[in-house]
Amino acid sequence: MPNQSGNVYGLTILSPIIHGAAGDISHDCAIRDYLAGLPRDHRSLFAKVSSTHLARLVVMDDVVFVGTPAREEHLQSKYLVFETNFDGDLDTYLERMAREAPEEVHAVWQHCVGYPGVKDPAAFAAYMKKCQIETTYFFADVNNKTVQQTLRALKLQSGVAHFIEANQGKSASEIQTAFRQFLEKVRHAPEPLAGEYEGHPHLPARGAGATGRTDPLAEESEGHHG
């Protein structure tokens, strides 16, 4: 079934970009400029819309025919391509975008034909759905877990690794006591924030200062043996 992979929704939207200039800059260039300056880490607009697994925004200038004999053909307009994989249903997601990231959404879609504004989230969602095309291809890592479940699992996995490292070799009773404490910590750990990650080699490191909080499960590693 298109658009749906288990509980994950795949959305593809092609929004026609207004032909011509917005002041002294063409609308497509204005979008590109704005997108180039958007943060890609936890400050991303898609961290605000926290049910997002992966999203991207691309300006599609034209589609060039490759083949023989050569043929000159063009799209009727430039398009903003918006692709996202998220948890939950489509209307809720689109309305969340309008409610939770109105400035960013407005800054991008104001350059698109027929954009109704974000003040009425339902109208924004209806507009977006008019531009939707079918999605049959999903982000490879989508595995039917929600963003929250995935983040929690990753944190738990690294927490368990820290726990083993800090307690391996101890007596059974010591390990049991430590494990109970660890479980309590896991139970009371705050929900992980969207956009959190640990040590990915191709993304800049993010200090604890960014959110004002350290990884609650990582403290286990302070009790290193030896």
Partner: protein
């Protein structure tokens, strides 16, 4: 069946010589004319892939950096047709290779920092005398033609134990098992060395994974420069000087093994996926087995398919990361595009276990790779399988031995309920291996060398 013209292919492309002594002469070329004269005079000395009636006392092989080919005056249309990674050189690929921090080029040997290496002239020899003799001949040709200057001579030699050359490196592991077998290479195949068929048999890989001008595993000709005559029967070589922090390694192994119920040697084996004598952990998880280690029919002949949980060989162990064999799925099709042929010898003096040793001593391994696409093969293996762990389901964990560690990394040993094989986490990984320089080289065929020497490379 590919019928290779082995007389046209440099022997180093087709096989490691297993000679105990080597000197890698790193040369700067004077200019096009004298440089070509120098190449022309070296050609008769080059060791080809022809089978030896009698083993020679020494061998000679030759390869160029992109800067070297430019210095020889190759046409721009040819120079621009090389793959971009070769044009950029290893230093220019630091982001992809994670050659940062202690591995960054500011810390490399001077010769590699200054971009003066145009030519790699590799001399391998059976004895120190033969090495000196072979190198003296090279020196005479350099001086006679004035075409090349020696910028550094990098010596390397096998670790000698009881006065016999061994295959050990400085951390004590027996190295150099299992180079991939490919179609047309004239040598004895070992089960485990090529690629797996759906039926589970080992067969040679496509020639084009290692030699330019032949179909590769995708049925395509590898990306190669023009003209074809320059590219065919050539290969690309990666050269990396890897310093080994032996004191750090021994201290870390001692410290960690105090907490590991399986004992020190088993822990060392779990790091790599081989016991230090070379026995594959997958075949003999409880103890080294010299009979297996010495048996070419068994010492590379294993798969991980029945050990997907890493109970025997940890999923992040070195040999499993860099050659996942059957465990990456798709009947090995993905792995078959990421194989590399390795060469190398240690440098520096070997210090036996128990004797005082310092990280500062100059010792390590000269590690070389031959492959058709540095980007698709070596760089992929290094970036994704050494410096990252996602394909091995190890998250961001790096390879314990070769990873560029900052003290925060960890290595998971999966283990089982057997008290002698417990799960274990090695944390706070120090950097065991540091990069001290290197570059990307093109190792042309004999035909191509003659074209270069005659100034008749014609890309039109």
């Amino acid at each position: 069946m590919v019928n290779l013209n082995v007389a046209d292919i440099q022997g180093f492309v087709l096989r490691g010589y297993n000679f105990p002594f080597a000197r890698y002469l790193l040369l700067e070329l004077e200019g096009p004319e004298k440089g070509r004269d120098f190449i022309g005079r070296i050609i008769p000395h080059i060791t080809t892939g022809q089978r030896w009636e009698n083993k020679p006392q020494s061998t000679v092989n030759l390869a160029f950096t992109h800067k070297g080919l430019a210095r020889l005056g190759l046409p721009d249309a040819t120079l621009l047709s090389f793959p971009v990674e070769f044009f950029q050189g290893m230093k220019g690929r630091k982001e992809i290779l994670c050659d940062t921090g202690r591995n960054s080029s500011e810390n490399w040997d001077e010769v590699w920092r200054n971009d003066v290496v145009h030519v790699w002239l590799g001399v391998h020899a059976l004895t120190p005398e033969a090495l000196e003799e072979g190198c003296a001949e090279m020196e005479r040709i350099m001086q006679g033609t004035g075409g090349a200057y020696l910028r550094q001579a990098q010596d390397a030699k096998a670790v000698f134990i009881d006065n016999k050359p061994s295959s050990k490196e400085h951390f004590g592991y027996t190295d150099g098992f299992g180079n991939p077998d490919f179609e047309g290479a004239d040598r004895h195949s070992q089960p485990g060395q090529g690629k797996l068929t759906k039926e589970g048999d080992w067969v040679p890989l496509a020639t084009g994974e290692f030699v330019l001008g032949y179909p590769d595993e995708a049925g395509e000709l590898p990306v190669a420069p023009v003209p074809h005559l320059l590219a065919n029967n050539g290969s690309f070589m990666v050269y990396r000087k890897l310093h080994e922090n032996v004191a750090t390694f021994r201290d870390y192994l001692d410290e960690q093994s105090r907490h590991y119920a399986g004992g020190k040697e088993k822990l060392a084996a779990k790091f790599v996926g081989r016991w230090r004598d070379g026995t594959p952990v997958e075949l003999s998880p409880d103890a080294p087995d010299p009979a297996i280690a010495a048996d070419p029919k068994r010492n590379v002949n294993f798969t991980f398919g029945r050990d997907l949980d890493g109970v025997r060989c940890p999923i992040g162990a070195h040999v499993r990361r860099v050659n996942p064999r059957d465990s990456a799925g798709f009947h090995g099709l993905l792995v078959n595009r990421r194989r590399i042929s390795r060469r190398g010898l240690p440098y520096g003096e070997y210090v036996p276990e128990g004797e005082a040793v310092s990280d500062k001593d100059d010792r390590g391994v000269i590690f070389m790779v031959l492959n058709s696409s540095i980007f698709r093969q070596f760089e992929f293996v290094h970036q994704q399988w050494i410096e990252y762990g996602n394909d091995a389901h190890q998250g961001s964990d790096k390879d314990l031995m070769l990873g560029n560690h900052d003290g925060s990394g960890k290595f998971m040993i999966q283990g089982s309920t057997d008290p002698q094989n417990p799960p274990f986490v090695c944390a706070r990984l120090p950097q065991f291996v540091e990069l001290r320089g290197g570059d990307y080289f093109f190792m042309p065929s004999l035909t191509a060398l003659r074209l270069i020497a005659d100034n008749s490379v014609d890309p039109r």
